[in-house]
Each structure stands twice: as structure tokens, then as C-alpha cells.
């Protein structure tokens, strides 16, 4: 019996798909391609994903476009302040908020269960989602920078630092998004729960208005949103490189999110 089983297992292995790194990369490309296809095919979700941050910059530009460098905005002009924070907001929205909601909905609909029944490894599924989130974030940021330019905010100079911050931020917030999706069991509650966590956090982290309370800044400095805002502001507006200290805090949150996600994530809709 044991030998039969072993023989069958061996017989199962050597067919078709190339093993190892090349096979994994191909699987990843396959997964990324189809995630993109289903995203872009839904015109409403695609348009709203990109319109929201643009509208936000336009409104802030209309409100504060004339406000020059001031101590209220930490020595920056209003738009120099808002362009990176809105960029951070859009990354948060697509990586954390939309991902948590989408995963909860896919689980409820049985889509995740169906995926789990195939040999697609979990890492490839999540890597496909992460790649999608990074791509959406890059487009969002490009749009925001262009609109910001119309209000006189110069193009940032440290693109490499921005990319690094963006990818690390996207990965961390994706991990947190998956973690939150692991805790929510029903899809209807998902948007509310995701927003409930996010909204106050963004507020005290200076996303909407600069915060001048030392206590709040200290507290929010240890939470994930403010470090990300700061880490994006540095290469965007302050002509500095990567902000390692804030990136470290962000990465720690990402790791914590990933730990929760790995332990708690469920693929099938019914609670055990």
C-alpha cells in the first residue's frame, strides 16, 4: 500500500509545467494578468479607483492652492503637503481598504474557496493581489503628481526613494488589509469595519490637516499611517531620500499584519 502511494506520487510529478523558479514566475505572471483583466473589465471600479484621489487633489488645490510655505504645513506650501499625503491616502485606499473589502466579498461568494481547490499556491494568489495593488498605487501617484504640477508643485526628484517607499507601503498595507479581511466574517460589514479603523487613524496622522499636538504625533508615529505619510513626504517635498526610521515602523506593522493573516486567513465562507 505504502509503495503504491509513493509510486503514484512520483508518477504525478514530472509532467508538463516547468518546476522551480521559472514555473513560479510563469504562474505569477499568469495570476497578475488575470487579476488585471478582471479589474480593468469592470469599468466602474477602475474609474472610481483613479478618480477619487484626483478629485481630492483638485479640491485641496482649489481650497489651498494659494497658500504658500508656512509653518502650519511644516514649512511646506499647502499643496506640497497635500500631494504626498493624498498619494499616501490613495495607496491606503487601494491596498488596505479595497483589498479587505474585495477579499471579504470574494470569500463570501465562494471565489476564494474555488481558488483554494486548485493547485495555485497561496503565495502566488497573494503576490498577484500585491502586484495589482502596487500597479494601481503607481498610477494613482502619477495622476496625483501631474495634478499637483498644475497647482505649481514641482515634480519630485527622488523617484527611487518614492518607489521603495511605495512598494514597502503597499506591501505593508496589503498585509494589514488581508489581516482585517481575516477577522471579518461577513462581506456586508467589511467596508464599515475597514473604514472604522482607517478614518480616525488618517485623521490623527495628518492626512486631512496637519496635526500640531505633540502627544497625538507621538501616538500616531507608532501607528502605520503617519510613518507612511512622512516617508512619502520626505522624497516628494523635502528633497530627502528614503526615510528609514519611518519605513522601519511601517515594515513592522506589515510584518504584524502578515503574521495575523497567515494564522487567521480563511478561504471558505463558512465558519468552522
Amino acid at each position: 500500500m505504502t509503495t503504491v502511494v509513493a509510486a503514484r506520487r512520483r508518477a504525478g510529478n514530472p509532467a508538463g509545467r516547468p518546476a522551480g523558479t521559472r514555473g513560479s514566475l510563469r504562474l505569477l505572471a499568469h495570476q497578475v494578468w488575470y487579476e488585471q483583466l478582471s479589474f480593468w473589465r469592470n469599468p466602474q471600479s477602475a474609474v472610481f479607483t483613479f478618480i477619487f484621489p484626483v478629485v481630492f487633489v483638485v479640491i485641496m488645490g482649489a481650497l489651498f492652492g494659494g497658500v504658500g510655505k508656512s509653518s502650519y504645513f511644516g514649512g511646506l506650501s499647502a499643496l506640497q503637503y497635500y500631494v504626498p499625503t493624498i498619494a499616501a491616502l490613495s495607496v491606503l485606499g487601494s491596498c488596505y481598504g479595497q483589498l479587505a473589502v474585495a477579499l471579504a466579498a470574494r470569500r463570501q461568494a465562494g471565489v476564494l474557496k474555488r481558488i483554494r481547490a486548485t493547485p495555485l499556491p497561496a503565495w502566488a494568489y497573494f503576490a498577484g493581489l500585491l502586484a495589482h495593488c502596487v500597479l494601481v498605487s503607481v498610477i494613482d501617484i502619477a495622476l496625483i503628481v501631474v495634478v499637483g504640477r498644475l497647482y505649481g508643485v514641482p515634480f519630485p526628484s527622488h523617484w527611487l526613494a518614492i518607489m521603495l517607499t511605495l512598494v514597502l507601503g503597499a506591501a505593508s498595507f496589503c498585509a494589514l488589509g488581508v489581516a482585517v479581511a481575516s477577522m471579518i466574517s461577513n462581506a456586508e460589514a467589511a467596508p464599515a469595519v475597514a473604514q472604522l479603523v482607517l478614518f480616525p487613524l488618517m485623521f490623527i496622522s495628518g492626512t486631512y490637516l496637519p496635526i500640531h499636538s505633540a502627544l497625538l504625533n507621538r501616538v500616531s508615529g507608532w501607528l502605520p499611517v503617519r510613518p507612511f505619510n512622512e516617508a512619502l513626504t520626505a522624497p516628494f517635498a523635502q528633497h530627502a531620500g528614503a526615510d528609514w526610521r519611518h519605513l522601519a515602523v511601517l515594515a513592522a506593522w506589515g510584518a504584524a499584519g502578515a503574521a495575523v493573516a497567515v494564522r487567521r486567513f480563511r478561504w471558505d465562507p463558512r465558519p468552522e
Binding site: 503504491v4 506520487r9 504525478g12 509532467a15 508538463g16 509545467r17 474555488r114 481547490a117
Partner: protein
């Protein structure tokens, strides 16, 4: 030769609810086995344990030589099983071909996309968006996703629920064809006709235990049960005039019923009796307990109160 599926002493509880108490059965290679039973009998929990979605509390389970509860063999096992789930779970904005091609990319040695589209009868709809398909067409797409990996074992969870009679016949034809091609199939169903039409063997669950198992024609000993011959008593005769023991049926208009262990003999004597008197036996039928009768009989007795469907499924 070992079986495709071997289960014994399977147990699973959700808190205080014992969804599966003691389930054991086997599915041979190339066989179609149906898990039957009322809601809450433990069918879906059993299936989900075998699919690797749930852990078991006790007992043994082996699927294609793998333990479905073990993570190490999970990916290999998933290469070789196909699932058609109860819920239609397909992304609305992809086309039929894209949906199937995406799933094909997950397998080492999938079937051809066009071949599977033809197999499930979606030819001509390849470029249609999934959201514009009818319910029955989506169900076929679901089946295509279960088949694309060219599985050795296919799980079908209530595969024809919501089908119209013609679509159901087509689906049965397809399932029989798959079996002929060597696929092993484990299905759950509420539909006795389906079990009778498809299954080589049925396993009847109630209250988390197996209450009967065997060929559908012989389940619960129904092939050995007494047959019921019923007909309308010719005018001018009473039950006492008949050559066999009969009793009036609970029906109106003079129907009588003969219960017999030797239906050929009884029938011969009855028709002889009628012909010699120049009479007809109107409404004549011969019946055995249907699979449904046996099912109702076996699942009614001694079954603990149902737990809510939501938890049990």
C-alpha cells in the same frame, strides 16, 4: 487495487453540534458514488473534509492515496481532484474562455480549454461575459472549472440543483460520459432520481452516521421488499372474490392493493381471473418501494433533531 476514497470512523463537531459522528465508506476507481441524506445529515461536512477544507476530529480519510487533512500533500492532491461547488462562484467580467483559461494555468497538465468548453456544451459562448450567462450556463461553466485540471476524482456538490429537466438529463449524460472515460465521481444530492440515474452505489447519511449503503436498486433491501399490485375492482365483485389476498386501498373509486413477495405469480392469477370473467383490471400497476420511500423510511427513524443548516453545511 486500493480505492480512490477510503473513509472510516470519520468524526467532526462544531462546538456542541456533532455534524459527523461515524462515517465510513469507500469509492472505487471509476465508480460514481452518491452521498444522500437530508439537510444536516453531514454530507457537506464529509465532502469538505475530503476536499481538504475542514479538519476532522477523528477517523481516517484517504483520497487518491493522500490524507486530505495533511498540508504536505495538499498541492499534489489538488492537481488531481476537481470540485463543482454548490455556489456559483465565477467572476462576472471575464469571458467564458478567459475564466476557463485562467483556471487551466493553475494545473500542471490541464485539459484543453476548447475541449472542455465543448464538453460542457458552452461552444459558441466563448466570448460572452460571465455575467451575461443564464443560471444554467453558469452552472456549466462551474462544471468546466471542475474538469479543466483533468482530475482523477471529481466532487459534485448537488450538481443539477436549479436545472430544468432537459438540462438535468444533459448533465447526467455528461457525468456518465466522464465515468466511461475513467473518472471517479463522488456526488451529493437531494434528488432520488439523480442518485438512481447516476450512482453505482449510494451512501445514505442521517444524523451524521451512515444508515444504509449499496446499489440504488437494492438500498435498504428494497429489491427484496414486497411488491404492491393495485388496480380497480371490476364492478359487481368484492375483495373476497379475488384469487389472492387483497385489501381496499385508501384511494376512492374502488382501488384495491395486493402486497406480495411473489408478484409474477400473483399477477398471473389475477389476470387469469379477470380474463376468464371477461373483465379488465383498470389502473393496473406494480410498484416496489421507491428509493424515495426507502430514503424517507431510513432517515426518519431515530434521527436526532436537526441542527441549523447554516452550521451543519
Amino acid at each position: 487495487m486500493p480505492s480512490a476514497v477510503e473513509v472510516s470512523g470519520l468524526r467532526k463537531s462544531y462546538g456542541q453540534v456533532h455534524a459527523v459522528r461515524d462515517v465510513g465508506f469507500t469509492v472505487g476507481y471509476g465508480e460514481i458514488v452518491a452521498l444522500l441524506g437530508p439537510n444536516g445529515a453531514g454530507k457537506t461536512t464529509t465532502l469538505e473534509i475530503l476536499e481538504g477544507f475542514r479538519t476532522r476530529d477523528g477517523g481516517t480519510a484517504e483520497v487518491l492515496g493522500y490524507d486530505p487533512g495533511e498540508r504536505s500533500g495538499a498541492r499534489e492532491l489538488r492537481e488531481r481532484i476537481g470540485l463543482v461547488l454548490q455556489d456559483i462562484a465565477v467572476e462576472p467580467y471575464l469571458t467564458v474562455r478567459e475564466t476557463i483559461a485562467r483556471a487551466a494555468g493553475y494545473y500542471r497538465a490541464p485539459r484543453g480549454v476548447a475541449e472542455v468548453i465543448g464538453l460542457v456544451g458552452l461552444t459558441g459562448l466563448e466570448r460572452r461575459k460571465v455575467r451575461s450567462l443564464s443560471g444554467g450556463q453558469k452552472r456549466r461553466l462551474d462544471l468546466a472549472l471542475g474538469l479543466i485540471g483533468n482530475p482523477a476524482l471529481l466532487y459534485l456538490d448537488e450538481p443539477t440543483t436549479g436545472f430544468d429537466p432537459a438540462a438535468r438529463r444533459d448533465a447526467w449524460e455528461l457525468v456518465r460520459g466522464l465515468r466511461t472515460a475513467g473518472m471517479t465521481i463522488l456526488l451529493t444530492t437531494h434528488d432520488m432520481d439523480e442518485a438512481q440515474a447516476l450512482a453505482d452505489r449510494v451512501v445514505l447519511l442521517a444524523g451524521g452516521v451512515v444508515v444504509a449503503a449499496g446499489e440504488p436498486a437494492a438500498l435498504g433491501g428494497r429489491d427484496a421488499e414486497r411488491a404492491r399490485i393495485s388496480f380497480r375492482l371490476p364492478a359487481g365483485y368484492t375483495v373476497a372474490d379475488l384469487p389472492v389476498l387483497a385489501h381496499p386501498a385508501h384511494l376512492a373509486n374502488g382501488m384495491v392493493v395486493v402486497e406480495t413477495g411473489a408478484p409474477a405469480q400473483a399477477l398471473h392469477r389475477l389476470t387469469d381471473w379477470a380474463i376468464s370473467r371477461g373483465r379488465e383490471l383498470n389502473g393496473l400497476t406494480v410498484e416496489r418501494p421507491s428509493l424515495e420511500d426507502v430514503y424517507l423510511e431510513l432517515t426518519r427513524a431515530g434521527v436526532p433533531a436537526r441542527a441549523p443548516e447554516r452550521i451543519m453545511r
